[in-house]
């Protein structure tokens, strides 16, 4: 939902052993350390950094393809790296969202047989109708508030949507 542009660095513990189970003298991997690693990963375009149970860097893999690496394995939850680190590992999201202004049913076309208002890859202009949200038997046309290109449609046709739910991701022109 919120925009995150930093490519994801995946720091991963190679074992899921808890600190108590670990035989060696563990270093706590704190957020500072994680942030450092994330910066290094960004700088050198790394997809994965693996830490051993003692906090030492063991394996470093280079990013495979061109685009920013998405959705590396989420951090294992144990001990020191719990909640905040999980957030850092969420996939990168770009673009601007068109959200639903009310509760209702989402329709991509004006009628079941009609073509969709828009589709992924198509451009939309400000004021252009992109979908319908039906609420209390009223068909409400939802317009784009800016010029851009549809990157993703986040709701399936005739699905229910709630207030504020993202409908489209648009790359602003």
């Amino acid at each position: 939902m919120s925009k995150r542009k930093a490519p994801v660095a995946a720091a991963k513990k190679s074992t899921s052993a808890s600190r108590e189970e670990c035989a060696c003298e563990c270093q706590i991997v704190d957020l500072e350390r994680l942030r450092e690693l994330a910066e290094i990963a960004t700088e050198f375009d790394l997809a994965e950094i693996e830490l051993d149970a003692c906090g030492g860097v063991r394996v470093v893999r280079r990013a495979a393809g061109a685009p920013a690496p998405v959705a590396a394995a989420p951090l294992p939850p144990p001990v020191h790296l719990a909640a905040p680190a999980e957030k850092a590992a969420k996939p990168a999201e770009t673009g601007t969202l068109i959200t639903s202004p009310f509760v209702g049913t989402f329709y991509r076309a004006p009628a079941p047989e009609s073509p969709a208002f828009t589709d992924v890859g198509q451009t939309v202009r400000k004021g252009q109708v992109v979908c319908i949200v039906e609420a209390m038997k009223l068909m409400n046309e939802i317009e784009s508030e800016f010029d851009g290109k549809v990157v993703e449609i986040l709701v399936k046709n005739s699905e229910h949507v709630e207030y504020g739910q993202p409908l489209f991701r648009i790359e602003k022109a």
């Binding site: 509760v103 709630e162 207030y163």
Partner: protein
């Protein structure tokens, strides 16, 4: 019985209704504003729908959004809780027109009882004593004639008003006409309706109310509650039974309340509110056509789930309880609010540490948890702390113990105020009226 209940409310009462749904095997739908996305009622319902931005007008009071949420989730009944749209007859009608069950009384009864003048008329017709009063006063001559019957002191009230706003007390004739004129313009400004009327003013009343249930045919009065500890008509401490009634008075009060409830053909649960004067005469003041915040104390002493009964009655089940039920022991409820104990200013913010009390005889109804952010958009009720015991002293001792176990850090609460009341000799001795807190 219906299958899926949408709860058009938030906070502890939404959670209360969800719990009753669970117990009955019904599915529940929580609705919430964007400010309440992290609320417990959202977490514990079977389904959830975000219906709007933080302001209540655009979310919890937004009838199209609520109906739409019921439609998309396939809910077949709506529970309004208390506050928000709970006493809005128009909403009840819309709900029914959309083919959904309304978990409340019939809209026409809500309308009658929601207007003070028509409610009073209906109660008088049913043989309920009402505070001596006047019809709408438009001229000075009408005012003089009314005073002949009522006698001073009188209180001037707006027919469209509520919550104590626009009320004026007049002790003698010298200020009568000027106060009437002032009340009219205030009523016009505040409620867009200049109509005012007068009533005998009861100087030191106790607030006693009766929990009633009806199935449209027969009715039941499930004991009384005393709610005299209040500030600006906001109740803070409620208890059941009341120490102010002896058996004869109680029997009379409950008989009158039951008769009136049956007379208006009331369906589901409601409350008849009375003032008890110094001579132990009781007078009807208003009816609340919904579940109330303080229904918990009645539940504790009667061992009845009132929200479950409310849903059963809304689904068309007949009353199935015996007409003569006796309360067991005594129950007290404290409303823990997010507010300054001295200035009463609201205190929203994040709860940094929390401990809720427990142990024998204690019940806590709340939607808060550690790290919960109390939003600034809604009322300040955080938790209802209820203590039950074999008698009032046992309940009081348990309540003091429970209050000492309450830890809420990060925001201010009125716990200290409650402590002062619970330790006050007049409160302990049962000697109080609705002005107790002002004198504290």
């Amino acid at each position: 019985m219906f299958k899926k209940v949408l709860i058009a409310n938030r906070g502890e009462i939404a959670l209360r209704v969800i719990r009753a749904c669970r117990d009955l095997g019904l599915r529940s739908v929580a609705v919430h504003s964007t400010a309440d996305a992290d609320s417990l009622h959202v977490r514990f319902a079977d389904e959830k729908v975000c219906i709007g931005p933080p302001p209540a007008r655009q979310s919890y009071l937004n009838i199209p959004a609520l109906i739409s949420a019921a439609e998309v989730t396939g809910a077949d009944a709506i529970h309004p809780g208390y506050g928000f749209l709970a006493e809005n007859a128009e909403f009840a009608e819309v709900v029914q027109k959309c083919g959904l069950h309304w978990i409340g009384p019939q809209p026409e009864v809500m309308r009658t009882m929601g207007d003070k003048v028509s409610a009073r008329k209906a109660m008088e017709a049913a043989g309920v004593p009402v505070v001596p009063g006047s019809p709408i006063i438009e001229t000075d001559k009408q005012a003089e004639a009314a005073i002949e019957r009522i006698g001073f002191p009188v209180i001037i009230k707006a027919t469209g008003g509520g919550g104590g706003r626009g009320m004026k007390i007049v002790e003698d004739k010298s200020r009568l006409f000027s106060q009437l004129a002032a009340a009219r313009s205030e009523a016009q400004a505040g409620f867009n309706n200049p109509a005012v009327y007068m009533e005998r003013y009861i100087g030191r009343p106790r607030h006693i109310e009766v929990q009633v249930l009806g199935d449209g045919q027969s009715a039941l009065a499930l004991g009384e509650r005393e709610c005299s500890i209040q500030r600006r008509h906001q109740k803070l401490i409620e208890e059941a039974p009341s120490v102010a009634l002896d058996d004869a008075r109680r029997i009379e009060l409950l008989r009158v309340a039951r008769k009136a409830t049956a007379a208006i053909g009331y369906k589901t649960v409601g409350t008849l509110e009375f003032l008890l004067d110094e001579n132990k005469q009781f007078f009807f003041i208003e009816m609340n056509t919904r579940i109330q915040v303080e229904h918990t104390v009645t539940e504790m002493v009667f061992g009845v789930d009132l929200v479950r009964e409310q849903m059963r009655l809304a689904a068309g089940d007949p009353l199935h309880m015996p007409t003569e039920m006796r309360p067991r022991g005594h129950a007290i409820e404290l409303r823990i609010n997010a507010e300054d104990p001295v200035t009463f200013a609201p205190s929203p913010g994040t709860i940094t540490a929390l401990n809720l009390p427990g142990g024998i005889g204690i019940r806590v109804d709340t939607h808060i948890y550690a790290h919960y952010r109390v939003p600034p958009f809604y009322d300040s009720l955080l938790a209802k702390l209820v203590a039950h015991g074999d008698n009032r002293n046992v309940a009081l001792a348990r309540m003091r113990r429970a209050l000492d176990e309450v830890v809420v850090e990060g925001i201010k609460t009125n716990c200290d105020l409650h402590r002062r009341v619970l330790n006050h000799p007049d409160f302990i001795g049962g000697r109080f009226d609705t002005h107790f807190l002002e004198r504290l």
